[in-house]
């Protein structure tokens, strides 16, 4: 059997882990979460969640990957042969995320081109939904392929293939050594420009003005834990896979903390950049920040282009913003795909080049549905279900399995034996008590919410096909892969 690949340097691993954690959510989700949940006061539950859930889980996953030297299925199999399915479940969740995430990066590739001339015009909303996506009237009317989206997405798949094909050191590490420094510089340049604009500090005031009464609201705490779970690339096979390429003498605890702090620091800078620009936009249009603040796809592809139209030297800062989105997305896309490819290589003893080529081919075919005229609707439904149920429940089962059914103390002894500083019993407590309670509550709340009310008013048929069936499908398929391959063995 071929020897497992290793990272070339510790810096390379950190940049790759940070690159995985930093994604589109840091730019378009975190700032609005802060603004919408008590402003600066949100940072109190946010940092509490970071210390009690984010850092403990990332350290746990680094420790597991490093100790068992395998992707998620192999790692869970090594711990207990009956639990390999959990790894496959997480890998399949990653696969689903990769096939729609890549399309959003494909949109950003197109928008980078538009940004040079503000090709989106003055009505950015009509342009995005109509001219660009040619959005159909419902998720059940897929229509044809939207070719600019197809081309942008194909380009992103091609880059992902080229990076993964080149291996851990020459591909993933080398790519992140370019993507991450460039991304940080771009964000700092845009932030610097944003802060010199009229109204920027009004935007920051709205973002950080603390409303401490919100700290007593349980919903704000759940939002903070949710943000931490989704921002660190934890609980869906990635960090276990990346840590499996670490050499034996690696400082697990410090690496985990470093990746978590840098990711959250980037979110802070992105928040300042976004709300600086929104403050300027509100001042220019003579409206309140609340009228322009938003999150997600709407913020990136409708509001920000509108703000770019108003910027001095928009031909320069517009492309910079969308290149940042592409780089942030690409580094995450690479990690999500690697989690899947690594699992395939481990299990079926397939060479990297064949596994990556096969994965990208299948992934590309699967992502075609998101490139259609109804693709945005499908993406919205699948994203909602895979995040709220796939990641949350797979994470809950992982934490219960490791913290309660397996000797968590053995993992702590392992990571402390090779790390510069040790984690104490608080780490066990966070994983055994706090994390399962919060994840369990989130999962049940999400489940009740979606059972009581159809998500965003979509037709039940659409929710069943693109939501419930996908979420249940990845679970069942994960169990099937485990059963069939182990029976054969």
């Amino acid at each position: 059997m071929a020897q497992r690949e290793n990272w070339g340097t510790r810096t390379g691993f950190i940049l790759a882990a940070v690159g995985s954690a930093i994604g589109l959510g840091n730019i378009w989700r975190f700032p609005y979460m802060v603004y919408d949940n008590g402003g600066g006061a949100f940072l109190i539950p946010y940092f509490f969640a970071l210390i009690t859930a984010g850092i403990p889980i990332i350290i746990m996953e680094f420790g597991l990957g490093h100790k068992y030297k395998g992707a998620a299925p192999k790692t869970f199999f090594s711990i207990n042969k009956k639990w390999e399915w959990l790894g496959w479940w997480q890998v399949l969740v990653s696969f689903v995320i990769s096939v729609y995430y890549v399309v959003v990066i494909g949109w950003a590739v197109n928008y980078t081109k538009f940004a040079f001339t503000q090709g989106w015009g003055t009505d950015t909303k009509a342009f995005f939904f109509g001219d660009f996506l040619k959005l159909s009237s419902s998720p059940l009317e897929l229509g044809g392929i939207v070719w600019p989206v197809f081309i942008g997405t194909a380009l992103v798949w091609l880059i992902t293939w080229a990076v993964l094909f080149s291996g851990v050191k020459k591909g993933i590490e080398a790519a992140n050594k370019v993507f991450m420094p460039v991304l940080f510089v771009l964000i700092l340049v845009i932030m610097g420009r944003a802060l010199t604009l009229d109204g920027a500090f009004d935007g920051l005031n709205y973002l950080f003005k603390p409303d401490f009464s919100k700290v007593l609201d349980p919903k704000v705490w759940i939002a903070a834990y949710g943000q931490i779970f989704f921002t660190l690339s934890i609980c869906f096979a990635i960090m276990i896979t990346y840590a499996s390429y670490l050499p034996d003498d690696s400082d697990i605890n410090n690496n985990g903390m470093m990746a978590a702090f840098i990711n959250c620091g980037f979110s802070m800078v992105a928040g300042i950049m976004v709300f600086g620009v929104l403050g300027y936009m509100a001042a220019q249009e003579g409206v309140g920040i609340q009228d322009v603040a938003g999150a997600g796809v709407g913020l990136a592809f409708i509001t920000i282009p509108k703000a770019i139209n108003l910027l001095p030297a928009s031909w320069f800062f517009g492309p910079l913003f969308f290149i940042s989105i592409v780089f942030a997305g690409l580094s995450s896309m690479i990690s999500i795909s690697e989690a899947c490819c690594s699992a395939i290589m481990d299990k079926f003893s397939i060479a990297r080049k064949s596994a990556v080529t096969g994965y990208v081919f299948v992934g590309f075919l699967a992502s075609l549905i998101f490139m259609t005229e109804g693709g945005l609707f499908v993406l919205d439904i699948t994203d909602h279900f895979i995040n709220n149920f796939g990641i949350v429940f797979a994470g809950l089962v992982e934490v219960i399995f490791i913290a309660w059914l397996f000797k968590i103390e053995a993992v702590r002894e392992h990571i402390n034996s090779i790390s510069e500083f040790a984690v104490g019993k608080w780490w066990n407590f966070c994983l055994m008590a706090i994390t399962p309670v919060v994840l369990g509550y989130m999962g049940v709340r999400n489940l009740l919410g979606d059972l009581n009310e159809p998500y965003e008013g979509y037709a039940i048929k659409a929710l069943v096909i693109y939501g419930w069936a996908v979420v249940l499908g990845v679970f069942i398929l994960g169990v099937l892969i485990h059963s069939v391959t182990n029976d054969k063995d």
């Binding site: 510790r10 810096t11 950190i14 402003g39 600066g40 006061a41 940072l43 940092f47 500090f201 920051l204 005031n205 973002l207 950080f208 003005k209 603390p210 400082d251 410090n254 903390m257 470093m258 702090f261 840098i262 959250c264 620091g265 979110s267 802070m268 800078v269 300042i272 510069e420 500083f421």
Partner: protein
């Protein structure tokens, strides 16, 4: 910007980038980075 907003912004940047700086310092001390 109001005083409270400035304090929370500095606190947020300080905890995240301060935490990262401490971790990097520890790694550099062990000549591992």
């Amino acid at each position: 910007m109001e005083f409270g907003a400035i304090v929370m912004m500095i606190l947020g940047l300080g905890i995240t980038w301060g935490g990262a700086a401490v971790c990097i310092k520890i790694a550099m001390k062990s000549k591992d980075i």
